[in-house]
Symmetry: C2
Subunit: 334 residues, 2 copies
Amino acid sequence: MQAARPVTLKELASELGLNISTVSRVLSDPLGRDGKWASPDTTQRIFALAETRGYRRNPYAASLRTNRSNLIGVIVPRLQDYVLATIYEGIDEAALSQDYLTMVSNSLDVPQRQRDKAERLLDHRVDGLIFGDAAEANRGYLDELRDRRVPHTLVSRRIAGHTSVTCDDYRGGQLIAEHLVARGRRVFGVIAGKPGTSTSSERTSGFLDALAELGITEDQVTLAPGGFDAPAGREAAEQILSENPATDAIFAVNDFAAIGALGVLHNRGIRVPDDIALAGYNDTALAAGVNLTTVRSPMHEIGSRGFALLIDQLGGITTESEQLQPELIVRDTA
Amino acid sequence: MQAARPVTLKELASELGLNISTVSRVLSDPLGRDGKWASPDTTQRIFALAETRGYRRNPYAASLRTNRSNLIGVIVPRLQDYVLATIYEGIDEAALSQDYLTMVSNSLDVPQRQRDKAERLLDHRVDGLIFGDAAEANRGYLDELRDRRVPHTLVSRRIAGHTSVTCDDYRGGQLIAEHLVARGRRVFGVIAGKPGTSTSSERTSGFLDALAELGITEDQVTLAPGGFDAPAGREAAEQILSENPATDAIFAVNDFAAIGALGVLHNRGIRVPDDIALAGYNDTALAAGVNLTTVRSPMHEIGSRGFALLIDQLGGITTESEQLQPELIVRDTA
DNA sequence: ATGATGTAGGCAATCGTTTGCGGCAATCGT
DNA sequence: ACGATTGCCGCAAACGATTGCCTACATCAT
């Protein structure tokens, strides 16, 4: 049993004794009720009937004519990741407010999947794409899209040659380093995240550079790359602890990895922050939940700006990348 | 600058010296290359040209004719929530494998937003809807949809009169209670989650009933409702601890709330599980990250079954609700 | 030889909108 | 008073696919 078919323009028109085109023009005039396509009286009658009959434009018919879908596609590594889920929320909210709808897909950070999902979205004629999973590994596809002139922006992570909206991750790394050193920490471990992503590399290089600046020598810091989630954090923490037991501060480039690390510290009876200080990155809800010191990155805003820039591109405007400012959030763990 | 417009059926047809209809029939035959709509030779030629010219069906044109969009809408309380993000992943994966695309929206569990988002999706002519935010508060709208004969299913949470796919939450609550009692716990706190949702009420009633069964009297358990996230967990934990300092076990109906509780326990220097045992629900990645004892609920499968049932409905089949089995995961905290 | 059955493919209507181009009055300027 | 505007609105051609109904020919059985 199907839902009742919605009224069409044609039905409205015949019921009003008008031509379809008039009704269409009045109803889709951006000025709404005071558009100038018909007499005030006619305009009122049209809106009134459309209202009572519950008219809803058929977006497919419209898109067929206009060649615009008012749909945009979003590719993220994984929606399970709080950070990208939040960025996506920012995108979706901005989109909704401008009458766009969005479709998301997970790429799991594997290039082939990224390509497949994106093409699939393109097959559905999305007007543009937003990528949350830019990395060295898929730069090739992104470049191809640029050559095909497919409007797109990058969020969260960036690569050269594509307009992106990111947090100033380098600065974020510096903030943590400065804070930790100011609190008297001297031997560092960094849980560096996924190689080949700007979020990882810039946060750690900001951290490392600031440390060097403050006179910490290289042999006092041990790096452990991996992923962005709690299990990866566990592993990295184990590695750091076994490589340098004198470590007195750990910086994880992601809150979830930090929580994983926190788990192993608790297990080993290491007190936080008394024995080892711990800092994360992003200021997720969970960071507040466990009182983790972290850096707030404006995830929601990254999403909405990413969408705004995409709309600019659709309007033919050339866009510039943006970097949003991070903020240090000091809580109990460091 | 726009991306190059894709080839159309008409162009393929004229280039092949065939009629559009023939090309259409061959290309959209479910049997693919060995459909029986044209001679094997013609069929080959059609597929070959479609391939080299990169033909992609225009879904809007198709939908206009067929009145099917191959799109389904998903409404969740909030994608930031790992549990619903995972369920959504399950939905999306199943959908993709059957050539459906999905669109998600957050309702934030507020009825008006749920309605708005759903109607918006319906305006876009989705073929059906999947709700992850069913609750007493929005039963009205759901019932209305049923009356309007809009195909839909519920996932994660359920209400009577709508086909749903959920975890057997009552059983899950029992599992935790039995485990805790077997470990010698006697004074309980339960962080009960959001009122009016089946996940909350069934998990806690399963827990409570099992406790009663095992001879625990009511005055030995204190209930603290709230939400499903870490901050809500913190608050609830504080409340439980102040209401009954003798508490020796806490069950949170959600892992995130459990992590919040874990935070306050650590803060107060309470040892887990030595002083107080703690259990969560869902077995999210984070639970593994902090070695939390929990109940695994098959979130991914809930999503894919929810989608499958929706497809059944679209096929005119009447569907029955399903309950999937939970599994106790014992780790360090209880 | 005849009608039945199959095979290969064309015709044209249709889905619901959008939009370029006019048409017809009433109004205005001079 | 008369051509030029302006205000209102209709006509019909797209947009790109799907699909019911035909046609034309070949094959087959009787």
